[in-house]
């Protein structure tokens, strides 16, 4: 087949690849963000009673929506605060007579949508630090979670639409190019028919050719997309620009195995596209 067909497959597959990579990055990013949604339940009393600690542990463990949880003791909470405050911590905290921070359970839910439900379990619990005028006793970012989930949903829907559109564009462009290159050879098809070749005897070489065209084009495209992904990843990772910091985490999360999965996917899609395009384009000329 023609170089034009290979190039068309290459370009469309590269565009589709970039869309898929972007989609994957956004997904990784949003899941890593939603995974960090947590509910924090503060244990009553400073220091807390062992019975309260045990009762809450049993209660949390019994809630089916809970993915995991950790106990943060009073001293652990103070240590966390110290690291958060940094080098000035000792100066700020030197006047504390006792540890005023309550012990707490940090709860991670299986699905961020269930954060309300899980939190509701503790609203009137006697073991929870629910004194009026102090903290709420149960802390979770209600509105933030809602906003986050709404945005994630919107992004996922938008990316789905974009992916479908580009996949469609790839199919149409490739099949048009393949059809053109077969149109240029319709006389050959006619000759083969006159010599008495059956339709399948004529079809197979063309389909094989389309398959190889798609294979070559999409393989180069997949390599290019993969290379670009690595470059961008390295650039963001090594960058000192502050505004890039929020996306560092998701990129790190996905830098491992999945781009390797993208290469066979793209290559296979391209090859199937080429073969299918050939078969469809031939239909017109194979009518006896």
């Amino acid at each position: 087949m023609t170089i034009a067909a290979v190039l068309t497959v290459l370009v469309t597959m590269a565009i589709l690849g970039v869309v898929l990579v972007t989609d994957k990055n956004l997904k990784e990013g949003t899941t890593s963000l939603t995974n960090r949604v947590e509910v924090e339940v503060f244990v009553k009393g400073a220091p807390p009673q062992q019975s309260s600690i045990d009762a809450l542990r049993a209660k949390i463990a019994a809630i089916p929506e809970v993915k995991s949880f950790t106990y943060v003791s009073q001293s652990q909470a103070l240590a966390d605060l110290k690291t958060m405050l940094g080098k000035n911590a000792d100066q700020i905290l030197q006047n504390l007579q006792s540890n005023p921070l309550p012990a707490s359970y940090k709860i991670f839910v299986k699905n961020p949508n269930q954060v309300d439900q899980v939190a509701a379990h503790f609203f009137n619990d006697p073991n929870v630090d629910n004194d009026p005028g102090t903290t709420d006793g149960v802390s979770y970012a209600k509105q933030t979670v809602r906003n986050l989930l709404g945005t994630v949903n919107l992004i996922e829907k938008a990316m789905w639409v974009v992916t479908v559109l580009f996949a469609l564009a790839a199919v149409l462009l490739t099949s048009t190019t393949v059809r053109l290159s077969i149109f240029a050879r319709r006389r050959e098809v006619e000759i083969m028919q006159l010599v008495g070749a059956t339709n399948w005897f004529i079809r197979w070489p063309f389909i094989l050719e389309g398959f190889i065209t798609g294979l070559v084009g999409s393989f180069v495209a997949a390599l290019a997309v993969w290379g670009a992904n690595v470059l961008v990843f390295n650039w963001i990772h090594g960058s000192k620009l502050d505004f890039l910091r929020p996306i560092k985490y998701p990129l790190i999360a996905q830098s491992g195995s999945w781009p390797l999965g993208l290469i066979p996917t793209l290559v296979l899609a391209g090859a199937v596209l080429g073969a299918l395009g050939s078969a469809l384009a031939l239909r017109r000329y194979l009518r006896v």
Partner: protein, 228 residues
Amino acid sequence: MIVFENVSKMYDQNVPGMMDASFHIEKGEFVFLVGPSGSGKSTLIKLVLKQLEPTDGRILVAGRNLQTLRRSKVPLLRRNIGCVFQDFKLLPNKTVYENVAYALEVVGEHRRSIRRKVPEILNLVGLSDKTNSLPHEVSGGEQQRVSVARAFVNHPPLLLADEPTGNIDPETSIGIMQLLLRINRTGTTVVIATHDREMVDRMRRRVIALDGGRLVRDERRGVYDSET
């Protein structure tokens, strides 16, 4: 071998390609189809190959009724008909050898017998030294001999030639005609549509003359023009 019974073929807008034609061509005959351009010679050949369907009438080829022949069986019909065309119709990116071999591959011949038969037939048409040339690298007469070789390599019972000498010089034409005659002597029925008056007059074979889609003359040992 070929039977036409009241065959008509109307093209779009009522242009007649063939009007009520009836004739028999027996096994082993050597027949010229003559007539001016547009008289229906090519239509007749296309009808025999089932490239076209008649509007009316019945066509039998080798005892098979083309009207009831299933589409999937058309390739089988064509394998029994060798074809030679004015424009040769060779596959442009296959070599002389591969073009002839293709007709055998289509039938599912064993590679071993292809390797035996192709050089044999290329030798017969005098192209042993052009085996690996591409069609555009050899002369028109040579291309036509390749196409004759391809048409005959299967030893089909019927060979159709549509203006086989239309694109080549008179001297080479004689060679092609002699080749077709030799093929006829092996028992193959040969039908040649032609403009070549001199050739037809010299050979004195059966002549079927067409004009405007009508069969106007059918003579046993005819010439190009009517002798009356």
